[in-house]
């Protein structure tokens, strides 16, 4: 099954390089990649426009898919998404602050967003942990939702007073891969790489935690350590992806459900499957966004919801769908 997902992802990457305002044949793309001819327009399109964007989509998709699976596992809640740790709300608040401080370019937001995501999730984890040991699934989810709502209300009060900020912010918050150059991908790549490794390391412990904390402890798991690793992975993955592309939380919410119907609930297979599915889905949504309103484009976040959600509903309704956690 993993092999099929890899094949799907490869197809998505190829399409992402080939499709756009200027359609390229797969042969042209191949030549531009293996034997770039500096004079040909195809080389410029592939290397300068579509390659950075595809790499970014690949990274963000892998990150959000894996982060979603981790988050649903740690909260044992099918409604959890990476944003539940306060990541989207923290990043949004920090971006609005950044706009207030004078950042106007998409690339200028990235460190604000990352710092905001980091601080918000540390606060959520700290409050959810309380005085006695690590957080429970319920306290983690509730603390996350409360912190998110609090930060969102601060964000909104700034935006209500300042239409100029709203004008910049509404294009960031919708979530998109466009307009980000290759430095953005390079900046977030190390965080996502570390996050993916932590996620895979966390998988066996997550399986044990699914049986309840007491059982997990009896099985020899160090519960608090496992929670810390999991949350750190989610913060790195989702924080970096949100910083780069804006909040695309929905991907992290649905992809684990899709992956669960394919590989089942074992986190050792679920996490890689969710990562691969996330990347494929994000790239395909991005490609579709370039096609439907060509030569302009529809923001990836909107495409994802408009096309991904009906697919998700079909899946939930189907016989194999709604595999419980």
């Amino acid at each position: 099954m993993i092999k099929r997902l890899v094949a799907l992802l490869a197809l998505a990457v190829a399409l992402s390089l080939a499709v756009g305002a200027q359609w390229l044949g797969l042969g042209e793309v191949w030549r531009a990649v293996v034997d770039p001819d500096p004079g040909a327009p195809a080389t410029a399109i592939v290397w300068e426009l579509r390659f950075p964007r595809t790499v970014l989509g690949l990274l963000a998709g892998l990150a959000l898919g894996a982060a979603g699976a981790l988050m649903q596992g740690h909260t044992r809640n099918p409604l959890a998404d990476p944003g539940l740790l306060g990541i989207s709300a923290g990043a949004s608040f920090a971006v609005v602050l950044g706009i207030q401080l004078g950042a106007t370019a998409l690339t200028g937001y990235i460190w604000f967003a990352f710092a905001g995501a980091l601080l918000a999730s540390v606060a959520v984890f700290g409050i959810a942990s309380g005085r006695r040991g690590g957080p429970t699934p319920v306290t983690l989810a509730l603390a996350g939702l409360a912190i998110s709502a609090l930060l969102a209300s601060f964000t909104q009060s700034i935006l209500l007073a300042d239409n100029a900020s709203l004008n910049l912010f509404r294009f960031w918050v919708v979530g998109s891969l466009s307009g980000r150059d290759s430095t953005v991908a390079a900046q977030v790549a190390p965080f996502i790489a570390v996050g993916l490794v932590l996620a895979l390391v966390n998988a066996p412990a997550l399986n044990a935690l699914g049986l309840g904390e007491d059982v997990a402890r009896a099985l020899g798991q160090r519960v608090v350590l496992a929670r810390v690793i999991g949350v750190a992975a989610v913060v790195l993955l989702a924080g970096a992806a949100t910083a780069a592309c804006g909040p695309i939380g929905f991907l992290g919410l649905i992809v684990p459900h899709v992956a669960r119907t394919v590989v089942g609930p074992d986190h050792r297979r679920l996490i890689p499957a969710a990562a691969l599915t996330g990347a494929a889905v994000l790239l395909l949504a991005d490609v579709l966004g370039r096609v439907v309103v060509s030569p302009g484009e529809l923001q990836t976040g909107i495409v994802l919801a408009a096309v991904g959600a009906p697919f998700f509903i079909m899946l939930v309704r189907s016989r194999r769908g709604a595999v419980k956690l």
Partner: protein, 344 residues
Amino acid sequence: MTLLQVHVGRLSGRVALRPIAVGVVGLALTVAVAVFSIGHGSFGIAPGNVVSTLLGGGTAAQKLIVLDLRLPRILTALLVGAALAVSGALTQTFARNPLASPDVLGVTHGASLGAVAVIVLGGGAAIGAVPLAALAGALVAAALVYVLAWRRGVDGYRLVLVGIGVGEVVTAGVSWFLVRAEIVDAARATIWLNGSVAGADWAQVRPLALGLAVLLPLAVATSFTLQALQFDDDVSKALGVRLQSARLAVVLTAVALAAAAVAAAGPIEFVAFVVPQIALRLCGGSRPPLVVSAILGALLVTAADLAARSVLPARELPVGLLTAMVGAPYLLWLLTRTNRRTSA
């Protein structure tokens, strides 16, 4: 939990004291905040005069200010708070999930799409049609969620997942409208999306009050089924609950309550999530209590509205933002204190 043994003739039962205490204190606070809030404003009125005006006395000027200008707004806040909190308590119980709120039934998202569409497409002229559009959007979206989740009956888990899916499509519609709108319309839509009870008049209060007079007793009447729906489906059936009709009744009540509230005040959705959780933590027990939730919901929205009018009188913040600023820290504080004591 402290239980009181009660004997009345041949009947006897046990009454939990804590929810009653919380309810009474909450009610007293709500009345106090409401009276203070009516007296508070650019033309201040002492609480004693507010009460006497409400009871039929007062000067002509006081009557105008209290009865025509401020009372509708305060009543809207009270009713909206109670409706959202009960709707949230119902949703969280039947979905068996503390993260569920009427959003997952499609209500708030549908209402937002209806309202934003009217604001963006109709411009300034259509502002009067916004509550109606919100109500229509809420009901259509909720019906869509229920129909799509139907597959030889509706299962709570599937309903919630389908609700998320529908909510996302609808939210994408809202974002799309916001991105393509003129910035003036986008700003106006943002104000509505944050929820506000400013400018409420009697024409808005009457239908809301009428709706709640029917729906709140209905919600309390579902209490027994709710108690049973907390368990898994097989246990509920064994307890004699007709699953599908019980679930439909609970969902319908929750949707209608939330839709009425959202049409009146915009999506103050955080109330529906936070109040049942606060009520549960204050009262103890295994599921959010309905009556106490209603009281605390009314208290939260009234207090937030008062704060909205006092903190920055020149630039009134929407009450939806204040409910989050007041409610979220309180829930966080409760979480750090009562960590691990409650499970739902």
